[in-house]
């Protein structure tokens, strides 16, 4: 007879090939003897296979991301001659200046020693230089726009809204009054951009909301507030992208969450082309 709590861990290790040879042999001997264990193991094999298949499907998003990165590298390679050309134009520009300096020298030189300075550069080279400068300016402008509107700090700012908190009354310190007070604290800290402290305060809000015996609607309100503000905090603190995305996905995956729409909009902004241009 086996106790299931103990066996799931062992079954999982056995199926993943993670048991030492001796332990695996013991487990197999147990499988021979115990029919229930045999049936359980077969069922868990199906479950773990199914979960592994879902994990592999989830990798599809990652593959798409790597493909985009690879294409970017390719584009950079393709752009290399253009960039080199621009560098050449920059050098040409210096040559222009040197020609100007030379003319100045000639002008200052004693009479009789004047020489004719003739530039060999065709006109189109100058035009290209002008075009390159314009491209550079446009690039800087786009990047500036992206930084102003799509930086983590900016996205956190525009995603955050102070809810209508009302007055937190004094008097008897019930769990509910402590909850309301801590909730107001958390939002004040958010407004002051004291994100680490706000995260702690929201954690306490979650704990208090579970203990305060609230009705379902109220519980949901606090839970949605905490999960959404956690996303904003991670974003503002420039946490690793994966962590922000995981917190965001949690909100998006919950159709009851009040902030699902906002989370989807934020995800679109995070995945947008402009984010790549942020300094």
């Amino acid at each position: 007879m086996h106790t299931e709590d103990y066996d799931i861990a062992t079954i999982e290790q056995y199926l993943a090939g993670q048991l030492e040879a001796e332990a695996a042999a013991r487990f197999e001997a147990e499988l021979e003897r115990d029919e229930t264990l045999r049936i359980d193991t077969a069922q868990y094999r199906r479950l773990f296979d199914g979960l592994a298949a879902l994990r592999s499907q989830a990798y599809n998003d990652k593959f798409a991301g790597w493909e985009a990165e690879a294409q970017l590298v390719e584009q950079e390679t393709e752009l290399a001659p253009v960039l080199e050309g621009l560098a050449a134009l920059r050098s040409e520009n210096l040559r222009d200046k040197m020609a100007g300096w030379e003319i100045a020298h000639q002008t200052r030189a004693p009479a009789g020693k004047a020489a004719v300075i003739k530039t060999l550069r065709p006109v189109f080279v100058r035009r290209l230089a002008v075009a390159a400068s314009i491209i550079l300016l446009v690039g800087v402008g786009l990047s500036w726009y992206a930084t102003m509107n799509y930086s983590s700090e900016r996205l956190a700012e525009i995603s955050y809204r102070m809810p209508n908190i009302g007055n937190t009354m004094g008097g008897e310190q019930t769990l509910r009054s402590r909850l309301e007070s801590r909730f107001a604290d958390a939002h004040r800290l958010m407004e002051q951009k004291l994100y680490s402290e706000a995260l702690i305060a929201f954690g306490e809000v979650l704990t208090l909301s579970r203990a305060a015996g609230l009705d379902e609607t109220r519980m949901r309100y606090y839970s949605d507030q905490v999960s959404w503000n956690r996303v904003i905090i991670l974003l503002a603190q420039e946490a690793p992208e994966a962590e922000v995305q995981a917190a965001l996905e949690k909100v998006i995956a919950d159709p009851q969450n009040e902030y699902q729409g906002k989370a989807e909009a934020l995800k679109a902004q995070l995945d947008s082309f402009w984010r790549r241009l942020v300094w």
Binding site: E12, L47, G50, A52, A53, S56, A70, A246
Partner: protein
Amino acid sequence: MSNYKEDESQLNLLRNGGEAVWQQFYDQHRGSFRAFFMQYGRMSPEEASGLLQDAMVVFHYNATTGKLSAPLQSNLKTYLIGIGKVLLRRKGGSTTGWDDQIPDEPVAPIADRIADQEAAAKMARALLDRIGEPCRSLLEMVYIKEFVMEAVAENLGLPSEGAARKRKFDCLQKMKELLR
């Protein structure tokens, strides 16, 4: 004695490695895979990239579940292209005229495995949809998103890693009961 020692070492790394190892593998084979299907399958670069990603999903499942294991019958590049070939056929694409480029022997079981993988994923998704919260989120975090237990505990507001692990076993047991 295996002819594909290096590939077997790489497979072992992939089976136990994280995302970085997989990205390296993706980058390593991207060029040859796309070139192959652009040349022989007459695919556009975008179509070839899409096929590569589909093939990688199948490859990932086979590698991480031990369904592809030593001793290998071909190198990993051939195997990956073989998966692409099977997937292309399944989509109704023709491989006539270049079948000999990638012999069928090493990749013959792939078609069956792809069907098994799809059925397994469908079954697990259906059970996750039925199991309810917080089990669904927890199992997704552990088995799909590959969160460490500490992160699972933090995300679910559980007091410790141990509590998260205990909850995981409870949820697995519940999922198994749904399977019955």
